[in-house]
């Protein structure tokens, strides 16, 4: 088991240093560090209330951090809102997917970013073509893009949501619990999508409670506990037990001890 807190070999696309966030009297995030490289899948795990969702919301511009530095593509940036995050190249697929059941796949993919022909009318042809291109790039199994979302399965909806995140050709895609509500086959489908995103050279932040999923696709696992970086593993070298121990914070465990020691060193230095 090795700690990989040294700066990663790869060029990092998105990096957070010393991010803090407070809600009233509660310090939700304390001095969070996170690096996401191009073509790298970083799993963000932790117990409920560990601060995963808050961190994702900060990266996607929903919340503003109280302190700390966010670097994207080597530049220090601020993410004032979801639209700006998207424009910058950070796409987020939220847990509830946020799709409109009454609209078809094409309409959902381009919602809020419709292509126009002649400045007024919707360019359905261009959008449909682009929709097929996106879905095929994910090897997605959607029978027809003119079906309303309501008639798709959970995995297909997740696929549409992920495809929608790709419309602006983002550099980083964040997936919030993409497999939480899915069956075995559909979970596998979504994990395939994650690998496809990685192949395309995008950075992926994957939030999951499912250790099997995390170990299946992630390169690195970042463990949050009570709003702090609790540990970081290379997935190849981490056992499920070690992950679970880091998540739950079992105190008689070498990971927690090392993490605490490392934190101390860093603060001293």
């Amino acid at each position: 088991m090795t700690m990989v807190t040294e700066s990663p070999v790869r060029e990092s696309v998105l990096s957070l240093t010393g991010v803090n966030k407070r809600f009233g009297a509660v310090q939700v995030l304390t001095d969070i560090h996170l690096e996401v490289g191009a073509g790298e899948v970083v799993a963000l795990v932790g117990d409920n209330g560990a601060g995963k969702s808050t961190l994702v919301k900060i990266m996607s511009g929903v919340y503003q951090p109280d302190g700390g530095d966010i670097r994207f593509d080597g530049r220090s940036v601020s993410v004032p809102g979801p639209a700006q995050a998207q424009a910058m190249g950070i796409a987020t697929v939220f847990q509830d997917l946020a799709l409109c059941d009454n609209l078809d796949v094409v309409a959902n993919l381009f919602l809020g970013r419709e292509k126009l022909v002649g400045g007024v009318a919707l360019d359905e042809v261009a959008m449909e073509n682009e929709a097929w291109r996106l879905l095929r790039s994910l090897s997605a199994k959607i029978p027809s893009v003119r079906l309303p979302i309501a008639s798709l399965s959970g995995g297909q909806r997740q696929t549409v949501a992920i495809a929608r995140a790709l419309v602006g050709d983002p550099k980083v895609v964040m997936l919030d619990e993409p497999t939480a509500a899915l069956g075995v086959a559909q979970t596998a489908e979504v994990l395939n999508l994650v690998e496809r995103l990685k192949e395309q050279g995008r950075g992926v932040v994957l939030i999951s409670h499912n250790m099997a999923d995390v170990q299946a696709v992630a390169d690195r696992v970042v463990v949050l506990r009570l709003g702090r970086n609790a540990a970081e593993f290379k997935v190849a070298e981490a056992s499920t037990e070690a992950l679970v121990a880091a998540i739950t914070g079992a105190s008689d465990n070498v990971v927690a001890a090392r993490a605490a020691r490392h934190e101390g060193e860093k603060n001293d230095g």
């Binding site: 946020a98 409109c100 009454n102 809020g112 042809v125 261009a126 449909e128 291109r133 029978p143 027809s144």
Partner: protein, 417 residues
């Protein structure tokens, strides 16, 4: 789009999935149609069936029901409430309701009448004032909704009462204000009929425009390597539309012909339908009606959609009220009272606009108002008491909503949302 096509050359890019059931030819379309019905995608079929039933029943009672004269009057008198109903369709698409459209129509018409008759301003200015009154009311509604979070049911119920009071106040001790019969509004709404020849020209232009647009759309899809529907079906449909409209025109021309009022209504329906289906605004409106949170996260300015819809609804209500005043040549204390209100809402729902938001079309208002006007005219011809009229209208409304609810359940169970 060669990269899309390379999997199986010759098959359109959107028909590659092997699970897609391929339906070609007329038999295929019949099958698709049948599957849709079973899946609760009833569309306008129940209304059309209902309308045919109504026609058969009343025609059996009194053949005058389907005479040119009756049909001309029917369309003319249906138009003002139809215009109001268009606004209701917009509001229903968002899953909201506006109970005050009748009162707003009466109040706006009264403002116009006082402005024109009592203060001697021109009719054009008067109508501008009337429409502005409607738009302002819609603006206030949307502020109430967006800034204070008052439910639309409540503020429109308040509006229903308040603007009925407003109507009485504006009319003062007049009771009734008669519009000068030589004014443009009355000439247009009451005495305006499309000349025979012009009517045919309009119908032909309409059919050709629709056919042309569809052919252009087909060509663009074919060029992009996407599937195109059957050309034969398209031509058959256009031919049927042309024959149907031309025959109807010739039948109505036996009497006075199409009223300008109805043509105006039809034009509004077509424009609104295009706005809803082909523009960003329409797409966003459906999105907000389907899943407001999703729409917001997609960067749609949800508040702006609500604003345009509430303003649009009240403006259309006011405009319908003006047309109604022109048709009746007067504004009275009973202008736009409960009858108008509920007829407008019932028409939108009967025509197939879902009360649950996100489903419906501009044509719903037209279909619905034809059904209701047919019932009303029929009962008048058969000379039954107005008590029966209310009961029947109520029954039809209940039936329509029941069909909506049942088909919604069928849609859910067959995955059509």
């Amino acid at each position: 789009m060669a990269d899309v096509q390379d999997a199986t050359p010759g098959v359109p890019a959107d028909l590659l999935d092997e699970r897609l059931i391929q339906n070609e030819g007329l038999a295929g379309y019949a099958k698709v149609f049948w599957n849709r019905l079973r899946g609760g995608e009833l569309g306008s079929l129940p209304v059309v069936v209902g309308l045919i039933a109504i026609c058969v029943v009343f025609y059996a009672q009194d053949p005058r029901f389907l005479s040119s004269y009756t049909l001309v009057s029917m369309t003319q008198f249906a138009a003002p409430v139809g215009i109001i109903s268009l606004g209701i369709v917009l509001v229903l698409l968002l899953g909201e309701i506006d109970l005050s459209v009748g009162s707003v129509s009466g109040f706006s018409a009264a403002c116009m009448a006082v402005f024109v008759v009592d203060h001697g301003h021109s009719m054009f200015l008067g109508m501008l004032v009337g429409v502005a009154v409607g738009a302002t009311i819609g603006l206030v509604y949307s502020l109430l909704y967006l800034k204070l979070g008052v439910p639309s049911f409540v503020f429109s119920l308040a509006g229903l009462l308040a603007f009925q009071g407003g109507l009485l106040y504006v009319l003062g001790d007049h009771g009734t204000i008669n519009l000068p019969s030589d004014s443009g509004l009355v000439q247009f709404a009451k005495f305006g009929f499309v000349p025979d020849l012009l009517a045919y020209v309009i119908v032909a232009a309409l059919v050709l425009a629709s056919l042309g647009l569809q052919l252009v759309g087909r060509a663009r899809r074919a060029k992009a390597g996407l599937s195109t529907g059957s050309l034969g079906l398209l031509l058959v449909r256009s031919a049927l539309l042309a024959v149907g409209l031309l025959w109807l025109t010739s039948y109505l021309n036996v009497d006075r012909g199409w009223s300008y009022l109805w043509v105006l209504f039809a034009a509004l329906v077509v424009v609104l339908d295009l706005l809803l289906r082909k523009t960003r605004w329409g797409r966003h409106l459906f999105a907000v009606g389907g899943n407001e949170e999703a729409a917001r996260r997609s960067g749609i300015r949800v508040g702006r959609i609500y604003l345009t819809v509430f303003v649009g609804c009240s403006t259309l209500a006011a405009f319908g009220g003006l047309m109604s005043a022109g048709l009746l040549t007067s504004v009275s204390q009973s202008s736009g009272t409960t009858d108008t209100n509920l007829t407008a809402i019932a028409a939108a729902v009967i025509g197939g606009t879902s009360l649950f938001g996100g489903r419906g079309s501009a044509y719903a208002a037209m279909l619905g108002i034809i059904v209701l006007q047919a019932i009303q005219t029929g009962l008048n011809i058969v000379n039954v008491d107005s008590s029966v009229r209310f009961i029947v209208t109520g029954g039809v409304l209940l039936l329509a909503v029941a069909i909506d609810s049942v088909s919604r359940r069928a849609r859910t169970s067959s995955g059509r949302g």
